[in-house]
Point group: C2
């Protein structure tokens, strides 16, 4: 790697002159600038990023801690984060907690030594179950800003970007009832123990209660054979006329099982699930989804965090990114 010192020596001028020339300082003569820039270009000089970071005491890097990246929701959030960060001239260091408290904690500790200017994170499943968050508070106390998205800890005061979990499911349930005249809506879930799962189920329960219907919830979080469970549930109760899945997988399974049971979709049975960019491609008929704007969630998170990094006075915010009901072929259009 070429350094300022090398350029200076080759040109027989001082390091600071070279530095100023490269930064186009008005103190430097055009002639010198030209000479410096030519040599720099020739030797492919690039200012050493590490040295700059040490000097300016900022890394222009964000720490991103995700529970997993094989879940398409988080994959798409990551895409949004990466795109916006690149836009704003930030790098991202990515850590995966694998849904464990241990790795989440370790990553936070390891990176809060000046490696990053701030964190964007969604809390690991285990951390949520154990309701443990001291490791996160500790980072904030050490004055490294943290932004939480999707899965958040209410007790911690920090910027947050969340989905309208309650409302979107409430609305979808209302849609099935009011627009499609469904009476027996089965809610299917494999994430009932997560904060977002609870909110979504509440949205469903509220809509069901508001319409004086009977709640019907199938929790699959700890079940081995999900397909079989869904199949049996549908088989046992032929009066079920709609399935509302609150995750990105059980909705598709419900469609497949319903077809195996010879139920017509959407005539006999409507199916709505949660989904992302290409979810609908994977089912026939194409599944209707509550589309979480995952990309946008990621982008918003970066924007909010970087804004707070720049501002000296910052008001903590919680931004709600509304979801959108995207009708496919697995439910009737109104």
């Amino acid at each position: 790697m070429t350094t300022l010192k090398e350029l200076a020596k080759l040109l027989n001028i001082s390091v600071s002159t070279v530095s100023k020339a490269l930064n186009d300082s008005h103190e430097i003569s055009e002639n010198t600038k030209r000479r410096v820039n030519e040599l720099a270009a020739k030797l492919n000089y690039k200012p050493n990023r590490i040295a700059q970071q040490l000097k300016t005491n900022q890394t222009k890097t964000l720490g991103v801690i995700l529970p997993t990246v094989t879940n398409p929701f988080f994959a798409e959030v990551l895409h949004g984060i990466e795109t916006k960060a690149t836009d704003l001239d930030y790098d991202i260091i990515v850590c995966l907690s694998d849904e464990t408290l241990l790795k989440e904690r370790r990553s936070l500790e390891l990176l809060s030594n000046g490696s990053v200017d701030g964190f964007i994170m969604a809390v690991a499943r285990e951390s949520q179950l154990e309701e443990y968050s001291e490791h996160i508070q500790s980072v904030i106390d050490s004055r490294v800003p943290v932004l939480m998205f999707d899965r958040v800890v209410n007790e911690i005061e920090c910027d947050k970007v969340v989905v309208d979990d309650f409302q979107s499911v409430y609305d979808a349930t209302e849609y099935l009832i009011k627009q499609e005249g469904r009476k027996n809506i089965l809610l299917v879930s494999n994430i009932e123990e997560l904060s977002v799962g609870k909110l979504r189920i509440s949205g469903y329960e509220k809509a069901i209660a508001d319409n004086a219907l009977k709640s019907n919830v199938l929790k699959l979080g700890s079940i081995e054979n999900v397909e079989e469970a869904v199949y049996k549930c549908l088989e046992d109760d032929p009066s079920i006329d709609a399935v509302l899945s609150i995750d990105h997988i059980t909705g598709i399974i419900a469609i497949n099982m319903a077809k195996n049971l010879k139920r017509s979709i959407p005539e006999d049975l409507s199916v709505i699930g949660f989904g992302y960019e290409h979810t609908h491609l994977l089912s026939s008929p194409k599944i209707s989804i509550i589309h979480q704007k995952a990309h946008e969630i990621g982008a918003m998170s970066v924007k909010l965090l970087v804004d707070s990094l720049k501002a000296e006075e910052h008001q903590l915010q919680t931004i709600v990114v509304p979801s959108e009901l995207k009708l496919g072929e697995s439910s009737k259009s109104s």
Copy 2:
């Protein structure tokens, strides 16, 4: 952030004594070590990573450049990379090229200024189509090691980790012919223009030729309505008794379309696709897949790159990670 200097001042000793004490140097008295360590713990001192990087001239960070992360293959590779890197005490900076040459090039340039000790990358679709790779060669020339996985540029000399694309598809085709007695195998693809796509198709063609059968290839790369195209193809030719998809999506579509056409799977029609961890969950019957060991590919890549970083003399290698045919319910067991 607490620094050595602050500790030194509080303890009325010199910076270098503090540094040595914290590094458990034998030159320092036990008593001093104790005092220093206690204060350091109390103030939550952590050595500034950036300063260490500048000093040692290594970042312990790898640049990871992926075409996309919403494709489950790359998501799982990323998981493998992250896990192994954490293991070996490396961080990863992740960039997404979005399949474009522009972003790939930009990321490479931006990070080859001392930000990372080496790169792990899969070439963007656009770079492959345009057969442009000077930006990669240029990084290597500047003495920053690059490792390519999956989608590689043959002309560039560097470490590589690849899948047995040709062989795995050859074997799967043979399996359909020999074990299941299939005669009219339709190959379905939406990645025929990529290096890996070409290799996979060659594997198929070879097996077909070796068995004196008729080749039947459906290329969907630029098609709008994939479902319709697959449906029509199956409808038009009832003699098709097997589908071999070389990507992770068209196999599932083929199953759905075949069911719509009332073909029995696997009695009338076998389906084999490419897949990853949870692919089989998304179809009924569960799809048989050529399972690319994506996680392992990521882990191997990190190991190979880090090894080369440590060695002063390094022999370039190309490692082939064999795939595994995992039978689901969409093909007959032998």
